[in-house]
C-alpha cells in the first residue's frame, strides 16, 4: 500500500446520501454467506454489535477478545448516555441539528458525510436497543426519558441511570450470545491479537496469543474487523480500563493501514486526581457536577492552607472570572487548559499541587443540602469511597485526565482501512468526532458502526471479491500466516530475553508522564520536540532494562503488558509527530503558538482543513498524507465562549 486511497465519499445531497449508498451496495446470497468467515477483534459496543449482526446475516463469525467474557469490554464503563435525534422532547431537535452539533463540536475536522450519516442512524440505534430489552430511564407515562448533556441546547441523551454503557453493552452481548447459541459465532476469549495477516496487500486473518496456554493461534478469514477500542492508555493514568491498549490497530498500521489524526485526544476536566505514585486509575466524575459546583484555586501561589481557612477574597473562581457568560460550564478542553495553567503556575492544591477545588458550599447554602444530596448523592459517594473525603463537608478535588482518543486507523466511508478487507469500527477508527468528541456520542458511533454500517459495507466488499478471489485457505495465505506468526514469536522472545531489572509498569508510568507533559492539554514546538527525544530514549531503556518474569507458555500478565507497552512507544512517537505537524489549534489539540491574545485557540482552515493520515515506512520516517475536508451544509465558524 502506498498513498491515500479514495475515501469513497457519497455524491449528491447529504440528506439522502447514506440511504442511496446503502441501497446501491451489492449483496450476497444467503447460501454463499454461510461459506464466508469474518474475524472480529473486540467485544465492546462496536465489536459485539457487528459480530451479532453479521452472524444474523449468516456469516461464520469468530470473535476475539482478551477479556474472559465479552461482557467485560471497556464500553461497560460508559456512564452518561447516548445521543439520538429522536426529538422525543419536542424541543426542536432533528437529524440536521445533531449533524451540525457533531461537526461543530469536532471543530470542523471531520467528514461532513460521516457526521450526517451518524445523526441519521442514531434513532434506529435506540429502537434496536429497546427491542433487545435495554432498560433505559422512562417517564411516568411510559415513554423514554431524555436529558441534556455536555452543553447541548436540546435534550437528546438517552440513559440508564449512570450505567448507560453497561446496559447497551449487555444488549449487544446478549445478541451476541444468541448467535453463539445458534452456532454462528465462535467466541475466542482470553486471546490477544498480536499480528494482522495480509497477503498481496489484503487482510486475511489475525495471529493471537492464547493467554492461558501462551500458544500462538492463527485465524484466517475473508474479512477482518477491528473494534479494539481507543489508545488513551498511552498516558498510563486515564479514565480507561487498565488493559485497554493500541496493539491491534498499531500492528495493522505497521502492516500498511494508515493512522489518522493520532494527536487528537480528549482530556476530561472532572476526574478524581492522582494521589499516590501507585494509583492505577483516574476515575471520571460526571460533568454534571459543574452545574452546581464552583471551580476555584487559591489566589496566592503556594498557599497551602486547608480550603476552609482561605477567605473568600483570597480565592480565584477562575472560570467565572475568565468566562463571565459560560462560567464553570465552559467546554471540556477550555476548563482543562485553564486548570493546568494555574497548577503549573503553583496555584494547584492537593498532593503535588495537581488538582483544583470543585466547591458545593454555595449550592448547599442556596438550595439546601437535601437538594444537592439528591442530585449528586451517588457521585459524592463514589468520590468518598475513593478519596475518603465527604464533598458535602469540604470541596472536592478534581483534575483533568486523558479520556478518549478521536484519532485512530484511517477508514473510508465504508469503514474500510487502507488495507482492503480490513474494517475498523468504534473508537479504534478516527471517524466522526474530528478534533473533539461531544459527550454521549461515542456510544452512538460505536453502535452505528457495529449494527448498521459494517454489516452493509462488509457484505458489499465480500460481494465485490467475487468467486475467483483468493480464499483464506490458499497456500499463499498459509505462507503469510506463518510469517505473521514468526513476527509475533520474535517479539515475545525478544521481550523475554531482555533480562533487565525494571518491571513494565515503571516504564509505562514514565511514558505516561512524558506524554501528559508534552502531548496533553497544551502542546508547543519545544515541548513536542523534547517529547520525541525523551520517548525514544525511554524506549531504548525499555529494550535494555526490562524484566519480564515467567515464560511464554503460561498465563503471564507481565508479558501481556510488555507487548502492549512496546506498541505504545511507537504510537506515542507518531502522536508527537502529528501534533508537531498540525500547526494550528483545533478542538482538543491546543498549540501554544496558535492562540489569540486572549489565549483562545486559533484554527487555520486555509492550511489544515484536512485529515492527516500517516503511512508507516520500515526504517524511515512516516509519510503524512492529507485528505482535504470540504463543507457544503455548514461552513466553518469560530467557537466563542467568552
Amino acid at each position: 500500500m502506498s498513498g491515500l486511497p479514495d475515501p469513497r465519499l457519497p455524491t449528491g445531497p447529504l440528506a439522502t446520501a447514506w440511504r442511496r449508498s446503502r441501497d446501491g451496495l451489492p449483496l450476497i446470497s444467503p447460501l454463499r454467506k454461510r461459506q464466508l468467515r469474518i474475524v472480529v477483534v473486540g467485544s465492546g459496543l462496536a465489536g459485539s454489535a457487528a459480530a451479532a449482526s453479521l452472524a444474523e446475516q449468516g456469516y461464520q463469525v469468530q470473535l476475539v477478545t482478551f477479556h474472559d467474557s465479552p461482557r467485560r469490554a471497556h464500553s461497560v464503563a460508559a456512564q452518561g448516555g447516548i445521543n439520538a435525534a429522536k426529538n422525543y422532547a419536542n424541543d426542536g431537535d432533528s437529524v440536521e441539528r445533531l449533524f451540525a452539533d457533531t461537526l461543530k463540536g469536532g471543530d470542523f475536522r471531520a467528514r461532513e458525510a460521516g457526521c450526517y450519516r451518524l445523526a441519521e442512524i442514531s434513532g434506529a440505534i435506540i429502537d434496536q436497543c429497546v427491542a433487545q430489552g435495554v432498560p433505559f430511564a422512562r417517564e411516568y407515562g411510559g415513554t423514554l426519558a431524555n436529558r441534556n448533556f455536555g452543553g447541548s441546547l436540546v435534550s437528546r441523551t438517552f440513559y440508564a441511570r449512570g450505567q448507560t454503557g453497561q446496559q447497551l453493552l449487555y444488549g449487544a452481548y446478549q445478541a451476541l450470545m444468541r448467535q453463539v447459541a445458534a452456532g454462528r459465532v465462535e467466541l475466542l476469549t482470553r486471546r490477544e491479537m498480536l499480528e494482522l495477516v495480509t497477503q498481496a496487500g489484503v487482510a486475511r486473518g489475525v495471529v493471537c496469543r492464547n493467554l492461558l496456554s501462551g500458544e500462538l493461534e492463527t485465524y484466517t478469514a475473508n474479512a477482518v474487523v477491528l473494534a479494539s477500542g481507543g489508545y488513551t492508555n498511552v498516558y498510563y493514568l486515564s479514565t480507561n480500563a487498565l488493559k485497554s491498549n493500541a496493539s491491534a490497530i498499531w500492528r495493522a498500521h505497521l502492516e500498511g493501514a494508515l493512522f489518522a489524526n493520532p494527536c487528537f485526544t480528549q482530556i476530561h476536566p472532572t476526574c478524581i486526581p492522582s494521589g499516590d505514585a501507585y494509583q492505577s486509575k483516574l476515575t471520571l466524575m460526571s460533568e454534571s457536577l459543574r452545574n452546581d459546583g464552583r471551580v476555584w484555586l487559591p489566589l496566592k501561589a503556594g498557599d497551602r492552607r486547608p480550603p476552609d481557612q482561605i477567605p473568600e477574597a483570597e480565592r480565584d473562581y477562575f472560570l467565572e472570572r475568565q468566562y463571565p457568560s459560560y462560567g464553570n460550564m465552559v467546554p471540556r478542553d477550555v476548563a482543562s487548559r485553564r486548570a493546568r495553567e494555574l497548577c503549573n503556575g503553583g496555584h494547584g492544591v492537593g498532593p503535588g499541587g495537581r488538582s483544583v477545588y470543585l466547591d458545593f458550599h454555595d449550592a448547599i447554602a442556596n438550595q439546601g443540602s437535601e437538594i444537592i444530596e439528591a442530585r449528586y448523592g451517588n457521585l459524592f459517594e463514589m468520590y468518598q469511597r475513593i478519596t475518603g473525603d465527604d464533598p458535602m463537608a469540604a470541596p472536592m478535588r478534581i483534575y483533568p485526565a486523558p479520556h478518549y482518543t478521536m484519532g485512530g486507523l484511517w477508514v473510508d466511508y465504508h469503514l474500510m482501512s487502507s488495507i482492503p478487507g480490513l474494517f475498523v469500527l468504534g473508537e479504534a477508527n478516527f471517524s466522526e468526532h474530528g478534533a473533539n468528541r461531544l459527550g454521549a456520542s461515542a456510544l452512538m458511533q460505536g453502535l452505528a458502526d457495529g449494527y448498521f454500517i459494517a454489516p452493509a459495507t462488509v457484505t458489499a466488499w465480500l460481494a465485490e471479491q467475487g468467486a475467483t478471489a483468493i480464499g483464506p485457505d490458499d497456500a499463499a495465505v498459509r505462507e503469510a500466516c506463518l510469517e505473521a506468526g514468526q513476527r509475533a514469536q520474535g517479539r515475545i522472545e525478544a521481550l523475554l530475553a531482555v533480562a533487565g531489572t525494571r518491571p513494565v509498569d515503571s516504564f509505562h508510568r514514565a511514558l505516561g508522564q512524558l506524554m501528559l507533559e508534552h502531548c496533553g492539554i497544551s502542546r508547543s514546538v519545544a515541548g513536542l520536540g523534547a517529547g520525541l527525544a525523551a520517548v525514544a530514549e525511554l524506549e531504548a531503556q525499555f529494550q535494555q532494562d526490562l524484566r519480564v518474569p515467567g515464560g511464554a507458555d503460561e498465563p503471564n500478565g507481565e508479558l501481556e503488558k510488555a507487548l502492549r507497552l512496546s506498541d505504545f512507544f511507537g504510537l506515542a512517537q507518531l502522536m508527537l509527530r502529528d501534533a508537531l505537524a498540525r500547526e494550528e489549534s483545533c478542538g482538543a489539540h491546543f498549540r501554544e503558538e496558535h492562540q489569540s491574545s486572549g489565549g483562545e485557540a486559533v484554527r487555520d482552515d486555509q492550511h489544515f482543513a484536512h485529515i492527516a493520515a500517516w503511512e508507516h515506512r520500515p526504517g524511515a520516517a512516516p509519510i503524512r498524507h492529507q485528505e482535504p475536508l470540504s463543507f457544503s451544509l455548514l461552513q466553518p465558524s469560530t467557537r466563542n465562549y467568552q
Binding site: D68, G142, L242, P549
Partner: protein, 252 residues
C-alpha cells in the same frame, strides 16, 4: 489523606490448574492507606518482580466496580468486608494497621482454577447463551416509544440488569448456586414487554443450564445477597421459583 499502613497478605499461590497450591505470606510495609487493595497487589507484584519472583495473578480491568473482572475472597468474604463494593473499590484505609488479610480465589465446581486468584467463570456466559436474550435481529425494531413501559417498572428491570457477572454470589454460597445471577437476568427481561414472548422458555432453559454447569441449588442462605456488589435482592430467587407456575400454559 489517611496516612500509612502495614499489612500482611496471605495469598493463595497456584501456578497452573494442575499444580499444587499453597498460601504464601508477604509483608507490605508503610504503604499509603489511600491505595486500593488491587493497587497494593500491583505494588507487591513490582516488589516480587524486582526480587525475581513470579507476580500474583489476579483479574481486573476497569478498577471502578463495573466490569465484573475482579473478585476473590478477603478473609473468607467475597469482595471483602465492605457492602456493595467490588474488591477493586476496596481501599486499605478500611483495614487496621498490622492486620493480616487472607486472599483466596472463588471456590466452586463450575469455576475451575486457572492461576493464583484467577478462576474460569465462562459458565456464566453459557447461562446467558442458554436463553438470556430477546430474539430480535438487527433492523427489525419498531420505534422505541411504540411500546410504553412504566417508569417504576423500567427502573426495577434496570436494577436487576445491573448484575456485573462477577460470580461473588456463587463463591459465597455453600451450594455454589448461581441462582441470584440467573434470577437477575430472568427478572430483567420478564419485567419488560420485549422479554415476554420467550419468558417461559428462557426461565426453563437457563435453570436447566445451571444444573448442567455444576452449580448447586438454592437453600435460602442469603449469603449471595449479602456479598452482591450490585445489591441484587435475593427476593428475585423466590420470584424465579414461581416463574414456572406463573408462565404455565403461556406456551412461549
Amino acid at each position: 489523606m489517611s496516612g500509612l499502613i502495614s499489612l500482611t497478605l496471605r495469598i493463595w499461590r497456584q501456578r497452573s490448574p494442575d499444580s499444587p497450591g499453597a498460601y504464601a505470606s508477604y509483608r507490605l510495609e508503610q504503604v499509603s492507606a489511600d491505595l486500593s487493595l488491587l493497587e497494593a497487589l500491583d505494588l507487591l507484584n513490582e516488589q516480587l518482580i524486582s526480587a525475581g519472583e513470579r507476580p500474583v495473578g489476579f483479574e481486573h480491568d476497569c478498577r471502578e466496580g463495573i466490569c465484573g473482572s475482579c473478585g476473590f475472597l478477603v478473609n473468607g468474604q467475597a469482595h471483602g468486608p465492605q457492602a456493595a463494593t467490588t474488591v477493586c473499590q476496596l481501599y486499605l484505609r478500611r483495614f487496621n494497621d498490622g492486620e493480616t488479610l487472607v486472599l483466596a480465589p472463588w471456590q466452586a465446581k463450575a469455576f475451575p482454577p486457572i492461576q493464583d486468584l484467577v478462576v474460569d467463570r465462562s459458565a456464566l456466559d453459557r447461562l446467558i447463551e442458554a436463553g438470556g436474550f430477546c430474539s430480535v435481529n438487527t433492523g427489525n425494531a419498531p420505534d422505541a416509544n411504540a411500546i410504553l413501559v412504566g417508569r417504576d417498572q423500567a427502573a426495577s428491570a434496570f436494577e436487576t440488569a445491573t448484575c456485573i457477572g462477577c460470580g461473588a454470589c456463587v463463591a459465597s454460597c455453600r451450594n455454589a448456586s448461581a441462582s441470584l445471577f440467573v434470577a437477575a437476568k430472568l427478572a430483567h427481561l420478564a419485567q419488560l414487554p420485549q422479554g415476554q414472548p420467550e419468558r417461559a422458555a428462557r426461565a426453563e432453559a437457563m435453570q436447566q443450564q445451571m444444573g448442567r454447569e455444576g452449580f448447586g441449588s438454592c437453600s435460602n442462605q442469603l449469603e449471595c445477597e449479602a456479598v452482591c456488589p450490585k445489591q441484587i435482592s435475593a427476593d428475585w430467587i423466590s420470584w424465579m421459583h414461581g416463574e414456572r407456575r406463573r408462565t404455565a400454559g403461556s406456551g412461549g
